[in-house]
Point group: C2
Chain length 376, copies 2
């Protein structure tokens, strides 16, 4: 029986070994993509999903695709939400895998958003010192960002993703059809990271997201094949940077444009703020810091102000600069005691700077509060 | 100021990137070896040691060597013993690192035996998705085996090392002078793994360990430079295999000669049996399984019987074959539901076999019980 081919050729993430990112949609896309993956000999597949994703039937559809490939497949569910990225949940998944008879030939398949991908990926990285991993992102955020690049991890009281590993999947299968069940705030959140990738690589279609009155919207024309092209372009930006710097020794930090403030806002709001909202404010902050650092640059500032007005679903907290500064100092990207901040003097030209004076960060925070009011 | 050179040139473990194993002794060896290591820019060093190693002053001496290199150095202690290889101890070390202000430029330095090396190595593998790691083994077992090769991990209720990662150190510094404080049972335990490496590579000095009356002993001539040579030879066996197969995809399994039974004995005795004792019985068992599988081979069986008589410090438990078989099936090396067993038809020629009939395993267990009596 010939192996069915996925409808389109996949993107390739050029790490060692390289792996494909299949992006598609339609009734047979998922099954065909999974049937066609090149994988080592496997004893079974364990799907890890959250209860919400399971309710939409995505976990069952993926499990069915694995079984159609001739592999036994069980499903382990975790509660939906960031709280599942915990040490006990992660350790418990190892025990649950053992009870299913999992061994080193067991493939872990994440089906979900960033939380499930990070958690299941970290389980795959550490179960018996590492087993094969495939990820099926179900949110726009996970498709354009989390699913590609091998970052896995869980949270501690002290902060998010403080424990983890780089563990590349053997394949990513992104079914854009799953976005139909995605609530609007989740969709906008993913759009923020997609926009960030368009900024980093200065992709031409970014301008299509700006309406004539200066607002941001998901263009009505971005459906069907056009939507897949936009998704592939955004994923390609991430895949290229990851391939050049898989372990975040340098250039990969550029992907954290907007994320220094975002992580600090998440800390300050005790993670009640959605990641996409925090990154939207963070992109504005990055532009303001950059403009403060090098006056006359950052003409893209109004663009991200418009993006944040469209995408943010929570007000900017009216925190003191001191509280913000403390939270920013905890950032993982800190090396050798210096805060490394990602700047984008113009779209397509990201850079990192460890020498920005504190007064610039303070001035930008004042400007951000002035722009978005704060919830005082 | 010129960088001081270690007295001898190190062994090299040829993984990517390669790393040195410094083996030496004498007053200035440790400080010189640490001073001469090629390392990335670091913000601080955190030594992880157990209370027993700290009592002997080894942790302080290593910390002093790091400070002499100009790096701030703190020490985190854990209780001595296998119980420290737990999820809570591992998670807690992440929190303790954060309280010390550790970031991605912090180097974790293990000072201890296999337990501390596995635990601290796994912390280094997962703290902020991985930080630089150096290990200073303080036992013979850790020097010739655990310190080289990047296996790190912790235990679950269900078994040892079920959670972990491959995380290569940037360097190994083995100070044979530390063996002076090692209790005799620990020394014999390390000798078992050293003997196993000599068997795997058919090293000529193995015969020196057999006395004329057929017993095994640590040769009186193996002191000073001669001891260092033997250590380096044994480490070289492991380093060569690791370099050819860093992630245990194939050949590296040969290092598990004797370990399928050893892990089962550890499970059956609830880890009250010393690893070296379990491996000594395991080497005899491997020879008996091999001889049962291919009669006329395994002339080295009497040698390892003598080794076990000398090294084992606990009786062989009189377990039923069924209990043993169940425990052996849990082995991590199992792939695709088959038990993969390491055979050594003659010294220097290890091989793995997934097709050995159950009756051969049963017959060998009866033979082992007959040889070592059991504690019934």
């Amino acid at each position: 029986m010939p192996t069915p081919e996925p409808a389109t050729s996949p993107l390739l993430v050029n790490v060692t070994p390289p792996y494909p990112v299949h992006v598609g949609q339609g009734d047979s896309f998922l099954a065909n993509a999974i049937a066609g993956l090149a994988l080592p000999p496997l004893s079974q597949v364990v799907v890890v999903a959250d209860t919400q994703v399971a309710e939409h039937g995505h976990a069952d559809r993926v499990a069915a695709a694995w079984r159609a490939r001739g592999l036994p497949c069980n499903t382990l569910l975790v509660p939906a939400g960031e709280d599942s990225k915990s040490v006990p949940m992660w350790a418990g998944l190892h025990e649950r895998l053992l009870r299913l008879g999992a061994d080193r030939s067991t493939l872990v398949c994440a089906v979900g958003g960033g939380v499930v991908g990070d958690l299941a990926g970290f389980v795959a990285a550490t179960f018996m010192r590492g087993v094969p991993f495939v990820t099926v992102p179900t949110t726009l955020l996970a498709m354009v960002d989390a699913a590609v690049g091998g970052k896995t991890g869980i949270d501690l009281e002290a902060g998010k993703n403080l424990v983890g590993a780089f563990w590349q999947p053997l394949a990513v299968v992104a079914d854009a059809g799953m976005l139909a069940t995605l609530p609007q705030p989740h969709f906008r959140e993913g759009t923020v990271e997609l926009y960030k990738h368009a900024l980093l690589a200065n992709l031409p279609w970014r301008s299509e997201m700006h309406t004539r009155d200066g607002a941001v919207a998901w263009p009505a024309a971005w459906v069907g094949e056009r939507q897949l092209t936009v998704l592939r372009d955004a994923i390609h930006v991430k895949a290229s940077i990851v391939a050049r710097d898989p372990l975040e020794a340098g250039e990969r930090a550029h992907l954290n444009l907007g994320h220094t403030l975002a992580h600090a806002l998440e800390t300050i709001t005790q993670h009640r703020m959605r990641h996409g909202t925090a990154v939207a404010y963070g992109l504005v902050y990055a532009a303001m810091v950059g403009a403060g650092n090098r006056p006359g640059t950052h003409a893209w500032l109004p663009d991200v102000v418009a993006l944040a007005r469209w995408a943010a679903d929570a007000p900017l907290p009216h925190a003191s600069f001191e509280a913000l500064w403390t939270a920013m100092q905890r950032d993982k990207k800190r090396r050798g005691g210096r805060l490394s901040f990602v700047l984008l003097n113009e779209p397509g030209a990201p850079d990192t700077d460890t020498g920005i004076p504190e007064r610039v960060f303070r001035g930008a925070w004042d400007a951000l509060l002035a722009e978005f009011g704060g919830d005082a």
